[in-house]
């Protein structure tokens, strides 16, 4: 596959055009803003955490296809997971975008979409776009 098609896969474009969990929560327990001053991406993330589990999540903001799709997919993946699991997923995601982990033949279905970002490591200037949502998530969880 040519690199550009590998980066902008259909799934990614779908999430960009129709992001999931876009909007606001009634009563978020945690929230954070993330900025990528280099390109002006901005994300606002709201979480509802109960008993160390993320029961609901929404995001809003503006950004490029990669940052927006990454936020959309992240919100899908983390919903229902414990904070501990989410931290591990963040580490896995950073490894994926840096090309430090192999793409498994058959990733478990709920993690499958994380691996569409494996193409990003060919585009070093765009890694920060992909990780913006995850860094914002970690910042939100630092609040207690």
């Amino acid at each position: 596959m040519e690199p550009i098609r590998d980066l902008y896969q259909q799934v990614l474009l779908e999430h960009y055009k129709h992001p999931h969990n876009y909007g606001h929560l009634e009563h978020p327990t945690h929230q954070a803003d993330g900025d990528n001053p280099l390109c002006g991406d901005h994300i606002h993330l709201e979480l509802q955490v109960e008993n160390d589990t993320i029961v609901d999540v929404k995001f809003s903001g503006m950004g490029c296809a990669i940052s927006k799709a990454s936020a959309s997919i992240m919100t899908q993946v983390i919903k229902g997971k414990s904070i501990e699991e989410v931290k591990q997923l963040a580490d896995l995601f950073y490894q994926i975008v840096k090309g430090e982990t192999d793409v498994p033949e058959a990733p478990s279905s709920d993690l499958e979409e994380l691996f569409i970002f494996s193409g990003v490591h060919d585009f070093p200037t765009r890694v920060k776009c992909a990780t913006l949502a995850w860094h914002t998530l970690e910042n939100a969880l630092k609040q207690s």
Partner: protein, 414 residues
């Protein structure tokens, strides 16, 4: 070459391209179409050779050196100042101060002007300024309780001159405006702006960073009080720029930085400052850079600025017509008078995604707010994609860009 463009310009772009070794780089195995010239231009071989030659044969500190090398370095440095003087048609080399670049020149002016101002005084700039002609004034205004006023812009990206006239008041102490906008391409009517300001005895600073490589500047006929630019945007090295100031203004302004070279006599009690322009050149300057800048300006003059401008205008028109056919693409900055800057958005794609896709096709453009966030806010966009043209660009390269833009449309727009 596209016959339409070739037929009307007497400019041998292929021999010019041969002067720029970097144009042989092939990103991802493709022809490099370098359209990021408003950020920085590439350097011709003569400029690169000058830098090497300086360090190989002349390197030494300037002024006061009694030895052979220092004498040669000083001569080369001062010869370059004379080339700049002629380039701007300044009255005297005392009016040509070497600085790091436009940003440093504007910070120098905001800081030193600031010392002459009183609370309640007004500074007038425009909404289309680069952050480097906005933030220094904003900081100054906060520090000294001054009023910072903005000349508004219109939907086409031009300055609203009627409002400008009304904004000039008896408290306005300085007007600072950009000659040509880096994000819109607009060429501002600085003659008119200077004339109106001078009717009120207000000095005018012109930020010429984007203009000098495309428009002939005569500071005396313009009657500009200050004109500043960077060397690297006119085929010269980075880290060298020029602050032109009328002698009577440079005399009035206090020094910016203090140290070596800017002094005449220092005792433990007090210091007498050096004459112009050295009063503003504290410390060892970028000597090689200044010499390289002189060579770059001569390179441009040998081709002819008006010829370069005519050629770039044809590239701009050709590119504008081609991109207008792409659905959902909107050009930001549609002034009558423009330099070769084509700024645009595609309503289904973020500028950075455009930038990445073009990059993969060998096309270098810039994407983002271009250090003009108020302009982006005015047009209601997060940023734009910007192609900016230089003398070595060709219509074929524009075709290369347009083809990649259609690919953006296929990926995102359908």
């Amino acid at each position: 070459m596209n016959p339409e463009v070739a037929a009307t310009v007497d400019l041998d772009v292929h021999s010019i391209r041969a002067d720029f070794p970097i144009l042989n780089v092939q990103p991802y195995g493709q022809h490099l179409a370098y359209f990021d010239n408003a950020a920085t231009t590439q350097k011709p071989q003569v400029v690169i050779d000058t830098l090497t030659q300086f360090y190989e044969q002349f390197n030494s500190n300037v002024h006061r050196g009694v030895h052979y090398l220092s004498q040669h370095a000083t001569e080369a440095y001062e010869k370059s100042r004379e080339i700049v003087r002629r380039f701007l048609n300044a009255r005297s080399t005392a009016e040509i101060v070497f600085v790091r670049g436009t940003t440093e020149a504007l910070n120098l002016l905001a800081t030193t002007f600031g010392k002459l101002l009183q609370p309640g005084d007004e500074i007038l700039i425009s909404m289309m300024e680069h952050h480097s002609n906005l933030v220094p004034w904003q900081i100054l205004a906060k520090e000294k309780d001054l009023k910072l006023k903005y000349i508004p812009i219109t939907e086409t990206g031009e300055l609203d001159l009627d409002t400008f006239e009304r904004l000039l008041s008896d408290r306005t102490r300085v007007v600072s405006v950009v000659h040509a906008s880096n994000s819109l391409g607009t060429v501002n009517p600085i003659e008119k702006i200077i004339e109106l300001a001078h009717q009120n005895d207000i000095p005018v600073i012109i930020d010429g960073a984007q203009a000098v490589a495309h428009i002939s500047v005569d500071v005396q006929s313009l009657d500009a009080d200050f004109y500043v630019f960077s060397g690297h945007k006119i085929y010269g090295p980075t880290g060298i720029g020029v602050l032109y100031g009328k002698e009577r203004w440079l005399d009035r302004l206090p020094p910016y930085q203090a140290g070596g070279d800017m002094i005449k006599r220092v005792t433990l009690e007090e210091t007498t400052y050096n004459v112009l322009p050295y009063k503003f050149e504290a410390g060892t300057p970028n000597i090689a850079g200044a010499v390289g800048l002189g060579v770059a300006l001569e390179y441009v003059q040998n081709i002819g600025l008006s010829k370069i401008a005519r050629y770039e205008m044809q590239l701009l028109e050709y590119a504008t017509r081609a991109v207008e056919e792409i659905p959902g693409l909107r050009i930001i900055g549609t002034a009558d008078q423009k330099i070769g800057v084509l700024s645009f958005v595609m309503d289904y794609t973020h500028p950075h995604d455009i930038g990445t896709i073009l990059d993969q096709a060998g096309v270098a453009i810039r994407a983002g707010h271009h250090c003009t966030q108020p302009v982006m806010d005015f047009f209601g966009v997060e940023g734009t994609a910007r192609a900016s043209f230089a003398v070595y660009n060709t219509p074929e390269e524009i075709d290369q860009m347009v083809k990649a833009l259609w690919q953006v449309y296929q990926l995102f727009g359908q």
